[in-house]
């Protein structure tokens, strides 16, 4: 297997045929999130700085994430802390940060950039969150076709 040297900032970018408002809804609305993010159940809560974002496994038996909103500027910028609680080893690492940036782009598309940084104290998390590529592709497919990828086994 090829190993990758972990870096402390990861950048993901894609164009989605949707308005910035639709993209904003997809990253903040619990019902939509469940459809492209491994069935994750996000507790409803206020979208404001300092509010917490609790995410559970699909059957709500395990806490997957308990993050805090750091910036909230609809429909442009949404920043929150990140800690992977679904795995004990990852949960023991330092908190990192996820920033979603949405910009209107040409021909009715939106440019979505996800920056996952402050990964200095979370090398295992840095390796595991490479799965953002899959999540973001799924988000794009859902917004453009109304259907997410088939459920994983």
């Amino acid at each position: 297997m090829t190993t990758m040297t972990e870096t402390t900032t990861q950048v993901y970018q894609l164009y989605i045929r949707a308005t910035p408002e639709q993209v904003w809804d997809a990253i903040t609305n619990p019902e939509t999130i469940a459809r492209y993010f491994h069935g994750a159940q996000l507790d409803p809560g206020p979208l404001e700085v300092g509010a917490s974002r609790r995410t559970w496994s699909p059957d709500r038996s395990r806490l997957w994430g308990d993050n805090t909103i750091l910036e909230c500027d609809p429909p442009r910028r949404f920043v929150h802390t990140w800690r992977s609680l679904y795995d004990d080893e990852l949960a023991a690492e330092d908190e990192s940060r996820v920033s979603w940036e949405i910009e209107p782009a040409r021909a009715g598309t939106s440019k979505l950039t996800l920056v996952h940084d402050k990964l200095e104290g979370a090398p295992k998390t840095a390796a595991s969150v490479r799965g953002w590529s899959f999540i973001l592709s799924n988000l794009k497919t859902l917004l453009e076709t109304g259907e997410a990828f088939p459920a994983e086994e």
Binding site: M1, T2, M4, T5, T7, T8, T9, Q10, V11, Y12, Q13, L14, Y15, T113, V115, R130, S133, F134, L136, S137, F149, E152
Partner: protein, 100 residues
């Protein structure tokens, strides 16, 4: 995107970013036998193809490898069942080449 990948210098630049992400032009230039202008041109092509994202951080412009377009190519032509077979074959190739 395939045009962007169809050049050894550009693949080399992506390899450098894969090793360590978030590099400046000066850093990338120091590893290539090429003028700053040449490296800039290649980086611009990679940016246009969506394979590299440049971001300002303070006074510096850092270049990051964007894995999303490659993931999309993967999803288009490799089904989730075949992914395991492909990955097993690649592991085999790597282990055989490492021991050779």
């Amino acid at each position: 995107m395939f045009k962007a990948l169809g050049d050894p210098t550009r693949r080399h630049l992506l390899d450098r970013l894969f090793e360590r992400d978030g590099r400046t032009l000066t850093e990338l230039e120091s590893e290539l036998e090429m003028t700053r202008f040449g490296v800039m041109k290649h980086l611009r092509l990679l940016e246009e193809a969506g394979l590299v994202v440049a971001r300002r951080q303070g006074r510096e412009k850092l270049h990051f490898l964007n894995p999303v377009p490659i993931r999309q190519i993967h999803d288009r032509w490799i089904s989730k069942y075949r992914a395991h077979e492909v990955s097993a074959l690649l592991d085999l190739k790597t282990s055989l080449e490492d021991t050779a």
